[in-house]
């Protein structure tokens, strides 16, 4: 059965002066899959995500999401279309509580009326309760009820990563980009995070693009893997195919081994 194409990237080039982080990347994401992007440091993985959600304007190439070209749209418009993400080095409001952080993710999904919100009356109040209910569902889903009213700045790294994922989910995304969700986590936290990602993917039917360095995990939870090196796609396939791919072993796994 032909799977539904959700995101298509064609011949994507990104340039900062003489530096070319992306040099002609091609990528497809299909409905319901977990796609991993791997590659050595500086291969252009995060740059690719930044292009998808509009932080970087590509020099050449097109990005098509659900039939719309989103190549040079502003990040907030892309978010409105249903692409949400988490960041490699966390971008939370550390002075706000977990609940407040997740509520910010609801921004585009809130019916608002500035005056009504100010006087906290009628529909505004009802809306706030509805929003809170949705956020509580996410808190329950990711099992972070116990930190509901705790300021994010005081949380452990693993928990902050989870809060960020919660905020990304609050947007009700139709495509989720997660950038290194498991760095700095211990094994138990990693297993939890992997389980949440699988649950999100299966229950909410959201395709996920994940950048991750833990190869064991990537091989376990993803459907397809794309390997980048020096801004180019050097391989693509199922985890098994990638593991036995000579180019990949040479450029990535091999390099990593010789480094360590």
């Amino acid at each position: 059965m032909q799977k539904l194409l959700r995101l298509k990237i064609e011949n994507l080039h990104l340039r900062f002066g003489d530096l070319a982080p992306l040099a002609g990347v091609e990528l497809e994401v299909y409905a319901g899959e977990i796609l991993a992007i791997i590659g050595p440091n500086g291969a252009g993985k995060t740059a690719l995500l930044n292009c998808i959600n509009g932080f970087y304007k590509p020099w050449k190439g097109t990005i098509i999401f659900d039939g719309f070209e989103i190549t040079c749209l502003s990040p907030y418009k892309i978010a409105q279309l249903g692409i949400s993400r988490t960041f490699q080095n966390l971008a939370l409001y550390s002075g706000a509580t977990t609940l407040e952080n997740i509520l910010t993710g609801r921004h585009f999904r809130t019916d608002e009326n500035f005056i009504m919100q100010m006087i906290w009356f009628g529909p505004a109040r009802k809306e706030e309760i509805r929003q809170r209910h949705i956020v509580e569902g996410i808190l329950d889903f990711l099992e972070i009820q116990h930190i509901r009213h705790i300021k994010v700045g005081g949380l452990s790294y693993g928990l902050r990563k989870r809060v960020e994922l919660a905020r990304a989910l609050a947007l009700e995304p139709t495509l989720l980009l997660v950038d290194e969700p498991m760095t700095g986590m211990n094994r138990e936290e990693k297993e939890d995070m992997a389980r949440y990602l699988i649950d999100i993917n299966q229950l909410r039917r959201i395709p996920i693009i994940i950048i991750e360095h833990d190869m064991g995990l990537v091989m376990d939870i993803t459907d397809r893997v794309v390997v980048l090196d020096f801004g180019k796609k050097i391989a693509e396939g199922t985890p098994e195919e990638i593991q036995s791919d000579q180019t990949v072993i040479h450029s990535y796994l091999g390099a990593a081994e010789s480094q360590s």
């Binding site: 809170r132 209910h133 509580e136 329950d140 009820q145 116990h146 509901r148």
Partner: protein, 648 residues
Amino acid sequence: MMLFNRSKERNARASLDNNSESVIDTVPKVLRRNNLSYGDRIAMRKKRLGIWHQYTWKEVFQHVTSICLGFLRLGLQKGDRVVIIGNNDPELFWVQWGVQCAGGIPICLYVDSLPEETKYFINNSGARFFVGEDQEQVDKILLIKEDCPDIEKVIYWDDKGLWFYEEGLIMNLTQLETIGNEESAEKPELMDHCIDETKGIDISVIIYSSGTTGLPKGIIIPYYYVLFYPRSSFPIYNIPAGSEYFSYAPPAWAEQTMGLSLGPDYPLVISFAEEPETLQNDIMEIAPHMLFYQPRLWEDLARQIRMKIDDASWWKRLSFQLAIKEGYRKLEAQEQDKAMSIQRKIRFWLADRLVLSVVRGHYGMKRVLLCTVGGTSCAPSLIRFFRALGVPLCNAYGAAELGMISSNHQLETRYDTVGKPFPGVEIKIDQMEVLVRSPGMAKEYWKNPEGLSRKMRDGWYCTGDSGHLDEEGYLVVYDRLEEMIHLSGGAAFSPQFVETRLRFSVYIKDAIVFGDESKPYLTAIISLDFGMVGKWAESKNIPYTTFVDLSQKPEVISILAEEVRAVNKLLAEGGRIHKFVSLHKEFDADEAELTRSRKLKRRVLNKKYDDIYQAMYEGRDSVSVEAKVTYSDGREGHVNATLHIIEV
């Protein structure tokens, strides 16, 4: 708050109990009475998605009916066993009550039971049904399914992560309730008939002893046992019906024999935490009227309170110290049965209003009318600390085979005792051993009918505890008879007695004390409280990396030595601790060092730490250990450490 007129309430209960044609002698009958008489009163509260949801007795009875009839439809026969694993939840209570109404026997296990342990319990009890809370428990049973051929159906109530599991063996609780409702529509009389069938001498639950010695034994608990405690304690504690009760004790035994019968029988309002992690916050929000913690939890709480105060600003510290002093003064007046002067009364009132009640409020003890501590006995200094704080903490004494035996009440000040026996309970002391005769006693051991009669002597149950009854009729319990140890100098001591006093220290989480006839003095292995000592070290600018590192810091060792010296002052001259070691890790139930209810497993510990024990008596000044550490997920690691032996 819904409190009811006490005397009126009691009369109403009495008339209800007498007038009804059949006596209310089983939990199902109690539930039916609640449905008829208190149907609109709140029975349960559970926080779901951040909001407290309430259930009336009518709603609860509805769920219980559906579950009961659902089980009957699945083919549950009278006397069939149902194993339940889950955290305290309304659903867990409904399932247990539903099974009881259907004539089945529920068995609750600890949530963190390993698959191997679970297999033992399932096969030992011959359970036909398994009810688990969530994916974790369902996965556990799927793992051992091959070895548990008797299990016919697995039922769960929290479907998170279970959306894509194949049907067949497993089933959602709502599905069970649906088929129960169908059954109910077909046979509306069935539920009443089932409840009428239950009798006071029927088995209500089977609980497994925590297994301090050997494999856990199943104890058969009849209904008269579970209803004995709420009914005999009712006049003593004087708790009004409609009081708030918070269910958090592990259902595996304490809650199964207490909360599950106490709640409906009084009746109380039973609240449940959102998640185990949110417990402390949820208790604070509910501010229950009664709290039953294990001694360990009270010790932890005292340590936390004192540590928090130490961390606070100077004027908060000062005001707490002044206030608690007033608390102690009032307590002393109560102990000596003296009246306080008006001035004292005002000072206490101010201290209580301005400081003590605030501290209590932080720990959910703002409205407490009764706190009890059961299990192994508690250090009197700990109880005095809480009483001074305004928390009516009472020592209670019980045994799995007997239920509750005795308890202090809120106005008694005999903390060194475990109170007077409950009405109907007889106690006598024979050669130091406590013998008990009680109307609420277990029937026998599961699959071992003679086991219990072996513990009986002329109709008295031998508890195996050493103790004595004083002239006023208060019972003092020292320790297990076999644990009383004589030193070579002739002094006798109880390791548990010394350990509980060590644990009263803010810095000590666990301790085990050694000594025997061939040894002239006591030694101890102390496991520090990583959180508390860690905080203390940070405040003193002492850098540390791991538990191992922290435990051997000279500064840490010197504060531990200080604590040991303080405990030594409470002990007889010949039976003091001379040497101790600060252990490189915490005692851990996953390594079988503690039981799941956090009691020390002495045999395991003695064997495991034999090197350290030998080294302490050989006069060496350090000992190196290489330990295998088993993590909660079953993986193993190694730790090497050199432990200093400290002389005090």
